[in-house]
């Protein structure tokens, strides 16, 4: 699976302004609603579900990366977005690092394998130091889009 299979370009946030976990999740869900990827009336229910999942264990997977996610019946295919926080937010990650890079994923309840494929792609790409560093340093949505596209073209992972 590639980034272009699940990342909505219109919902990418290059400069998240919130300073806590709940706030950045709200910003990213709101961006997906604005991009017409999620129905506005489900905003609260989706955010609640994502935060509930965080209570089961942080989705901070190390290296300053988090993958907040949930299943939700309001989508019929996997949708996601990318957000960057310059200062980083505390995510209770196992390695203790603040999170600067967020990949938010909402998947239909009956498609667990798509979710796993997306996680695999995100993790595989981010293991590359150059890609991870460049993405964290991106200042504009255009920069982020370009990096994701280069990653999709296998320019970082051999």
């Amino acid at each position: 699976m590639k980034f272009s299979d699940f990342v909505n370009n219109k919902a990418i946030k290059s400069q998240l302004t919130a300073e806590d976990k709940e706030g950045v999740i709200y910003e990213m869900v709101a961006a997906l609603v604005e991009a017409e990827e999620l129905p506005a009336e489900d905003t609260d229910s989706i955010i609640k579900a994502i935060l509930k999942r965080e209570e089961l264990g942080s989705t901070g997977i190390g290296r300053g990366v988090a993958v907040p996610h949930t299943k939700h019946p309001s989508v019929d295919r996997l949708v996601g977005s990318v957000g960057i926080s310059n200062d980083g937010v505390d995510f209770n990650s196992l390695d203790g690092d603040k999170v600067q890079l967020l990949f938010l994923l909402i998947s239909p309840p009956d498609r667990p394998s798509d979710h796993l494929r997306a996680l695999e792609n995100i993790s595989r790409q981010l293991r590359d130091d150059t890609f991870c560093r460049f993405l964290k340093q991106s200042k504009t949505v255009t920069d982020i889009r370009q990096l994701l596209e280069e990653a999709d073209n296998n320019q970082f992972v051999s």
Binding site: L56, G57, S58, T59, I61, G62, R63, V65, V67, H69, L94, P112, S113, H115, L116, R117, L119, E120, I122, S123, R124, L126, R127
Partner: protein
């Protein structure tokens, strides 16, 4: 006493959703409680068993065969705990990671 010979076990991923974020988080939390170096091998690809990012990148679905390799003073105990966790399908709702570690250390 430090053993230099790696211990190896093979397991099959049994939980329906595969190695997604929560099971991997549990796996790493348990792996970190041991001194031994722990690695996972899937189809010849070898990754650090104490890195969430590295294990997620394997994208191991249900039915995937994994080798868990440990090297160090507590290698056997670590493997007991990790194999139990995977074989129990990560018992997602009610897994008691401390119980798994304690049981393997006392047996």
């Amino acid at each position: 006493m430090m053993s230099t010979k790696p211990s190896l076990r093979t397991v099959t991923v049994s939980n329906p959703q595969g190695l997604h974020a929560r099971p991997v988080d549990l796996f790493v939390k348990i792996a970190l409680q041991f001194e031994s170096k722990i690695q996972l091998v899937k189809d010849g690809e070898r990754v650090d068993g104490k890195s969430i990012l590295a294990i997620l990148a394997l994208g191991a679905q249900q039915g995937t065969q994994l080798a868990i390799e440990a090297i160090g003073s507590d290698a056997e105990v670590a493997l007991d705990a990790l194999v139990t966790l995977v074989e129990q399908g990560f018992n997602e709702e009610d897994v008691d990671q401390q119980q798994i570690v304690d049981n393997s250390k006392s047996s």
